[in-house]
């Protein structure tokens, strides 16, 4: 369901949450089944940041399922944002920074779609996006903040931000509107069949996002037993009752990285940047044909990435634990 208002009235947020089956139950399914949780017009939040723990496999499934009119938010968008624009499943992204990565310069695909007016890119400060998810996670309608004030980032957002005054100090602050996405897509190293997720390394905004969202699809490198989760409950970062679907997808963030498991597939990223340089639209369409529409399964997709690249990315990924 689309966000009807900038901030959901509290009782409506509660009604949607109360409707969900939050009991302890198994919810393992395929990428295709999980894709059915996303409706056209939804606000979809993406876990991870830039080239890290991107829910690539789930986006891949949404593109293949030909979703429409999604609004997509993320801390920072990398090549998955190019895929969103190029495939047409989203013409509206909300993020603080959007390009493949610093080393590849400004994204030609992002430029093509935004400069031509075909797609919208709402820019918020990095912390503001994080605090919008956090307010949503906390069940409050706004969060006061001392950032973004005075800049054109703020000015351009118009009525989506408001000035408030501290009732104790009289200080002027900005009120950020809570963000409760319709659905969040989050990729993790391990989760159990109920959706208890444990994350290693960088957490980005994923935990607030999971708590804030009205549904969560969890993709995981590996499904582990509930017993193994219960042995270290202080390592669980996302509780099962926020999660609606659990999908086991090895290399589910490729060509991006998954902390401690694999680093980015840099050669693949280089090739994508090169391919979209001259004719960004044709370049990204060809990329989609080759890697999104072409393969018949996620395994086929991994085959296209190539075993040697997978082995190399994995070796680099594990090296973080060498010290």
């Amino acid at each position: 369901m689309a966000e009807e208002t900038l901030v959901l009235p509290h009782l409506e947020l509660r009604r949607r949450t109360a409707e969900r089956d939050r009991g302890l139950r198994e919810k393992v399914m395929s990428l295709e089944e999980a894709a059915s949780f996303v409706s056209d017009g939804d606000h979809v939040a993406l876990g991870g940041c830039t080239m890290s723990r991107t829910p690539t496999a789930m986006i891949w499934a949404l593109v293949r399922a030909k979703k429409k009119n999604l609004t997509v938010s993320r801390s920072i968008m990398s090549s998955e944002g190019e895929v969103l624009y190029g495939s047409g499943i989203s013409e509206h992204v909300i993020t603080s920074w959007f390009s493949q990565g610093i080393v590849w310069g400004v994204s030609k695909v992002m430029r093509h779609y935004t400069e031509s007016g075909q797609a919208r890119f709402d820019e918020w400060s990095h912390m503001s996006i994080g605090l919008r998810y956090r307010a949503g996670a906390m069940g409050i309608p706004y969060m006061p903040v001392r950032s973004m004030i005075g800049s054109d980032v703020n000015a351009r957002l118009g009525d989506e931000v408001k000035e408030v005054t501290c009732p104790f100090t009289g200080e002027r602050l900005l009120a950020l509107p809570a963000l409760n996405p319709d659905i969040a897509l989050i990729h993790v190293q391990r989760a159990d069949a109920y959706g208890n997720a444990q994350l290693d390394g960088l957490q980005f905004m994923d935990i607030d996002m999971a708590m804030a969202a009205n549904r969560v699809i969890l993709t995981t490198e590996q499904i582990v037993s509930n017993d193994s989760i219960r042995r270290a409950p202080d390592q669980t970062r996302i509780p099962f009752f926020t999660v609606d679907a659990v999908v086991e997808v090895p290399y589910g963030s490729a060509p991006h990285e998954c902390y401690g498991v694999y680093e980015p597939f840099f050669n693949h990223m280089d090739a994508l940047a090169e391919q979209t340089k001259k004719d960004p639209e044709a370049g990204i369409k060809k990329y989609l044909d080759d890697f999104y529409y072409g393969p018949s399964s996620w395994s086929d997709y991994l085959d296209l990435l190539g075993a040697a690249e997978i082995v190399d990315a994995s070796r680099r990924g594990r090296s973080i634990y060498n010290d």
Partner: protein, 256 residues
Amino acid sequence: MTERKNYTASELLAVMSGRILKDGQIVFAGVGIPLLAATLAQGVHAPGLTILFEGGVIGPFVVPGELPPSTNEQRCTRRANMVLPITDVLLLLQRGYIDVGFMGGAQIDRYGNLNSSFIGDPEKPATRLPGTGGGNDISSLTQMIVAMKHEKRRFVDKVDFITSPGFIDGGSSRADCGLIAGGMFRVVTDLAILDFDDDTKEMKVLALHPGVEPDEVRDNTGFDITIPDHVGRTDPPQKDELAVLRNLDPERLYTA
């Protein structure tokens, strides 16, 4: 800049901005020149300098030759003291724990405002740039050092779009907006070190780099810039500084 130098413009930037950092400070650094400069400072004169990355990393250890591609990948966490969520690492700025924010810039104006969002009219931009990332938060909430190439198209009278606030319209306008802390401290270029007038908050030249004449700065600045008569001079990059830098970035990805 006619004499032959034994360093590149990027190396000059890294060395000169690294020198501004003090031992014991906590620095919120972007990748590229800022990270190189901060790591250089740790190796040369500030062993107790702490680096933070916006991806959520406190006190990492950069492995020479494995510079991270952004501030959000596992390479950034190499032997870090702590890893935490993005929102929380940025909140350290708001709480006041951070001494210096340190980043690069695409376009800067007379009052130190930075633009990394739009070239041209934001409603119909000639170029849509990637955007603020953590820049807006960092420059809103702490004292800033910016390192960038000194070019006329980058040093403009008024930026097309204020992505990361400097002193806004100068004078007290920054505080008047509600940004009561932080502000631009230094801009380091390949020509000079610049600071801001205490009252007007206009950019001015604090010191010229070796071999740079005042006119070279004027010619490469898109607005009238004050260069005091007795302007300072920086010392050229030293051997030990360049050695540390080149060890960090042997393939010269960031210092070519």
